[in-house]
Amino acid sequence: METGTTVVKRGMAEMQKGGVIMDVMNAEQAKIAEAAGACAVMALERIPSEIRASGGVARTADPTIIEEVVKSVSVPVMAKARIGHFVEAKMLESLGVDYIDESEVLTPADEVYHIDKTQFTVPFVCGAKDIGEALRRIGEGAAMMRTKGEPGTGNIVEAVRHMRIINSQIRHIQNMHKDELMTYAKNLGAPYDLVLNIHENGKLPVVNFAAGGVATPADAALMMYLGADGVFVGSGIFKSDNPEKFAKAIVEATTHYDDYKLIADVSRNLGAPMKGIEISDLNAAERMQDRGI
């Protein structure tokens, strides 16, 4: 009997496919998310748009919040640790969290190195903007990927960009001649064996979700259309007028992302989505996606 194997870690992410993982800040929100059909919840102290607004250093959540959420729902609970913060991640593992997000939404603890994720029984998800980043994180032991997007903006444009780049690079690697792969891996800064794996299989060896800017059911469906395995929704739900209805609509649009009549139906009278931010209005320091590459 073996725990924490690659199959067990990656397999856990496979079970999340086609689903929506929702950010929650307390037990009450976690229950709303679960009742709406979330396949997992992400427990945090502040949602990304609030982190953006309040500034300062964003850290892993208070263990009380995590424990409260863990106790309140039966779906898996994820939580965020700062990039490179081995100890925050070990704390989360000890609390019984089912998945750790080493996340650029929090202020990085290390600007050079990420966590050695092989030192954990619990699996990790990490963000990426391109295939080089994705393969470096998988090389470090990440069992699930997500686009970085631009968290807390309610603007889907960056998640679309990242999903398109990653999938276009996968197609490129698949079509390359085998003797070109080493140089390509060198230029990407990616482990050669993982580039070879993509060349042979035509896909990432782990599940890849969309994240960072999903604000409407149509946004979620768009990301599925572009090849996402599922969707993270951060600020979108509990910043909307009617979180319950909104959460259910996002779940339905993700499952039936190619049924446009259904997406139109669930999008009716949802109330105002979050206001959103134009990406070019962010200065360099405000761009979370450039953290930990």
Partner: protein, 187 residues
């Protein structure tokens, strides 16, 4: 050729389709009840049982799959799918209530307790590598349920006539023996 549907509302759908096709049958992702008419068998995959259960209710799959089962067409539930097929789930409201088993959800604990191990399964010639992910257990079975496998004295696979369930994920391995067993149930 047998055509087997995989309920594609949420969960590990593509993996089951891959195994069905390796075993020489045709696999189809099922999102609408109308698709059931063309199928010889159905798999309810692993995923989140609360999510899958809610979406099944929303899209009419509860009655449709009960009718499917009345025709004695085989249904295979893995992990969340096992929970969906069960008659009793502790204190919670059960979903399809087709199979006479009592199930405990997340019986082994949280994700850090998830594991893989080799199991002897009745009807299979060789030990099978079983992957358990936040897996459920079968705590009690009715008298017409055949126990196919135990792990540490606890029931992790069973069959009742045309219904088959496993706590673990045969679709996450490269061994198609369990899927072959299921396809043979259609012969």
């Amino acid at each position: 050729m047998k055509v087997i549907g995989v309920l594609a509302l949420q969960g590990a759908v593509a993996e089951h389709i891959r195994m069905i096709e390796l075993a020489g049958a045709k696999g189809v992702a099922v999102k609408r009840v109308e698709q059931l008419a063309d199928l010889d068998g159905m798999i309810i995959p692993g995923g989140e049982s609360t999510t899958i259960g809610k979406l099944m209710k929303t899209y009419g799959f509860i009655d449709a799959l009960k009718q499917f089962s009345e025709q004695k067409k085989p249904i295979f539930g893995t992990c969340a799918g096992l929970i969906i097929l069960a008659k009793h789930i502790g204190e919670e409201q059960a979903h399809l209530q087709l199979m006479d088993i009592e199930v405990k959800r997340n019986a082994f604990g949280r994700q850090r307790e998830s594991f893989e191990t080799d199991l002897d399964i009745k009807g299979l010639d060789e030990p099978f590598r079983a992957v358990f992910i936040r897996a459920p257990l079968i705590e009690n079975v009715g008298e017409n349920v055949d126990i196919l496998c135990r792990y540490k004295d606890q029931i992790v696979a069973a069959r009742q006539d045309h219904l088959l369930v496993a706590s673990f994920h045969p679709e996450l391995t490269n061994n198609m023996a369990v899927h072959q067993y299921f396809i043979d149930m259609m012969m």
